[in-house]
């Protein structure tokens, strides 16, 4: 009963839009909703069907009273089969716990990613033009500059390949 009332409370349209679902997730959610609706409609139809049998009418119409008695006896003795749903419910609960755990893990991951992205965005927004940067700041952003420097210096090379072609030099010779 609780499950049904919970299902009624679900606002399907809002789920898709507010969570920003798309692609396969949205499609499977739609399929699940359709299945839910179909089953509910079928249940409603079945509930509307009459479940009583007018045996007096058959006694009047049919000559063979014995068969009507037999059917009535069997009908009264009929008990709808009951299914033990506890196992399935337990499995669903276990699945739910697992799903919640997964969702929380994903949320943590996404939060971390968001924090990282916010940091990057802040970095981009607060970026200064190259003219305002010092060599130390550029080297801190790109560690390969220091590595290349030590490599060239230990080899005793004081000129940077490609620098002269790009910027020229003041040499008169």
């Amino acid at each position: 009963m609780a499950a049904r009332s919970a299902a009624l409370k679900v606002d399907w349209a809002k789920i898709t839009t507010s969570l920003g679902l798309r692609g396969q997730t949205a499609a499977s959610l739609q399929a699940f909703k359709k299945r839910n609706d179909d089953v509910r409609r079928k249940l409603q139809q079945l509930k509307e069907l009459p479940t009583t049998v007018d045996f007096a009418h058959y006694r009047r119409v049919l000559k063979n009273q014995a068969i009507v008695d037999e059917i009535e006896r069997r009908f009264n003795a009929f008990q709808p089969a009951t299914y033990d749903l506890n196992r399935q419910l337990k499995a669903i609960e276990a699945f739910e716990v697992e799903a919640i755990k997964n969702a929380e893990a994903t949320k943590e991951k996404v939060d971390l990613e968001l924090k990282d992205l916010e940091k990057t965005l802040k970095n981009i927004e607060e970026a200064r033009p190259f003219e305002d940067l010092t060599v130390d700041e550029v080297a801190a952003a790109e560690p390969s500059i220091d590595e290349k420097t030590t490599k060239l210096v230990t080899k005793g090379r004081w000129s940077v390949p490609g620098y002269k072609e790009r910027f020229g030099d003041l040499s008169v010779l």
Binding site: F130, V135, V138, A139, E142, I145, D146, K148, T149, L152, V153, R157, W158, S159, V160, G162, Y163, R166, F167
Partner: protein, 55 residues
């Protein structure tokens, strides 16, 4: 001129080589690496700008 007095020659030669050695050391250890670093960061920035223009 006292520089041309032979008495001071040993002192002059000693200090000349000492100063040359100190100059070479300071240049190769501190000054020239700073220039190399500056040139490398300039080439890095120009590469970055080239890439952003080409994109």
């Amino acid at each position: 001129m006292p520089q041309l007095v032979p008495f001071y020659f040993v002192n002059e030669i000693t200090f000349t080589f000492a100063i040359i050695a100190i100059n070479v050391y300071i240049l190769s250890k501190y000054i020239l690496p700073r220039f190399v670093r500056l040139f490398l960061s300039r080439t890095f920035i120009s590469k970055l700008l080239d890439n952003s223009i080409n994109k």
